[in-house]
Symmetry: C2
Subunit: 303 residues, 2 copies
């Protein structure tokens, strides 16, 4: 039995900041490899404007390919109703909507105020229900904003409360620029879980300052069980200065398995997938475990 | 007031694995910069056989230089009575003795059984008392051994018990190859603190798998307050395959300060020192925070 759920976001958050355009084939190959590694939920792409994020211009092609070849239904990020319309033509299991915890980040990320963004979200949620698609409500810069600095917990908790009332299927707490410290994660996640009640809550972790594993550990201790990471640690947000890569999926899987927490992921295949993802990245990804002696590392999980 | 003590071990553990011989001047400069950053305790060098660790052949010269120029009394590592004799000619405040938690690592690291090693330690401790020098008893591979794998907690706790009975001044728990997970740190450190009673206990952290910060956080929560790290994260043990760099001093200082835990260290000077240390290293050190925007990072500590 799986005790934690790991959602790999590398095809979306991992690649969106990559300056070289990755071929659709390579994106599909990455997703297929993640599926083969046992990752059940994958954020496959995003329906954002191709002029804003050119890397995601082939979102439809990627989805067509993977849905025909795999037994998974992917998660996709959408920022507006246009994105919903494009996404809903595909077999997606979940839409990921992002609202930021600060006004400035909302403005820069999507050129809307928080309230404007939330109004559109409500319409999207209604449409998604009619189309029988689940919706995750993600809160960006929940722990720190590159423009506003420290983010009041109240900003996050109010959004959680509103999303819960609307009946979203999942609430995502994102440390978009890897600013969180484990004590902050402990404090905020406990409060979020309380407000969210029966709604599943995930945390989206970056490893900018090397605190990704510490924050995952703190979130786990606080009671959270769903984690968004990126294989090999590729990634970052194009609109968030200082955002380095995500926490590496394989590092977190290694950590959980060493802690005796089952992930139901094939670690060896995951390491191969991490190597594949790293080759797509023009900068050295942040993940650590894939650089160690392969045989020894796999043995360590059986200690 | 300082709430945690950070002992920088970069001049010893950081440089000993470096294949290029660093000049005595550069070693002295590194130590002087650490002192200027407000690090009060520094493991300056080791009196090991120069044929085994050529990088430390200038131990006496380094000590002569720094003691004449600074107001600090350094810590030095010694592996035997010969090392004690060499070290005791200098003004050192503390000797660091290393016994491994496994027989195999003792054999490979110092070519002695644990009991042989401990017998010599007792003689060294007697001599050190007569010379009025403090002694730290460090336990290598406390969380995982590259040769024996998982290390029974009992191995560590028995050594702690014996060291405490002998009245050592500090007990060091070393994750020599960065194998520890935060739950293991939590469990072992709580037990060690109990057995150690009034003896100060430190933890020595590597960041091989990216869990250094998570382990420091777990150790802090368990009640530990003394941390051994290496500026910029340079380092590793020449006799421990798979040991990557140490946890970076500046990353841990940043973490503590962000958590509201006072270190009494000048962070800006420490970042400069980290850059200096990184230049001495022939491979890219593991530290993260020094790569971020300097001004923004310093601001973050005041949030």
């Amino acid at each position: 039995m799986r005790e934690v759920t790991i959602i790999d976001v590398s095809p979306r958050d991992g690649l969106q900041i990559e300056p070289n355009i990755i071929s659709t084939n390579d994106k599909v190959e990455l997703i297929n490899r993640l599926v083969a590694s046992g990752i059940e939920k994958i954020e496959a792409t995003s329906f954002v404007h191709p002029a804003k994020v050119p890397q995601m211009a082939d979102a439809s092609e990627v989805l067509n390919e993977i849905v025909s070849k795999n037994d998974i239904k992917p998660v996709v990020l959408i920022p507006n109703m246009k994105g919903f319309e494009r996404a809903s033509k595909h077999q997606v299991v979940e839409l990921n909507w992002v609202t930021s915890a600060t006004e400035t980040f909302n403005k820069i990320n999507i050129n809307m105020s928080t309230e404007e963004n939330f109004e559109i979200f409500k319409s999207v949620l209604r449409e998604a229900r009619l189309a029988d698609i689940q919706v995750c409500f993600s809160i960006a810069v929940s722990f720190g904003c590159p423009y506003e600095g420290r983010v009041p917990e109240e900003n996050v908790l109010q959004l959680v409360e509103r999303a819960k009332k609307l009946g979203v299927n999942r609430i995502g707490i994102a440390d978009t620029i890897g600013m969180a410290t484990p004590n902050e994660v402990d404090r905020l996640i406990k409060k979020v879980l309380k407000v969210a009640g029966d709604r599943p809550v995930s945390v989206h972790l970056h490893d900018t300052r090397g605190f990704g594993a510490a924050n995952a550990y703190a979130a786990y201790l606080a009671g959270l069980r769903i984690f968004e990471t990126s294989v090999s640690g590729i990634g970052g947000c194009p609109f968030a200065p200082g955002s380095a890569g995500n926490l590496a999926t394989e590092d977190l899987v290694y950590l959980f398995e060493r802690m005796g927490i089952k992930t139901n992921i094939n670690f060896e295949k995951l390491l191969d997938t991490a190597d594949f993802a790293a080759k797509l990245s023009s900068k050295e990804p942040l993940g650590r475990v894939r650089h160690l002696d392969r045989e020894r590392t796999i043995e360590e999980l059986c200690l």
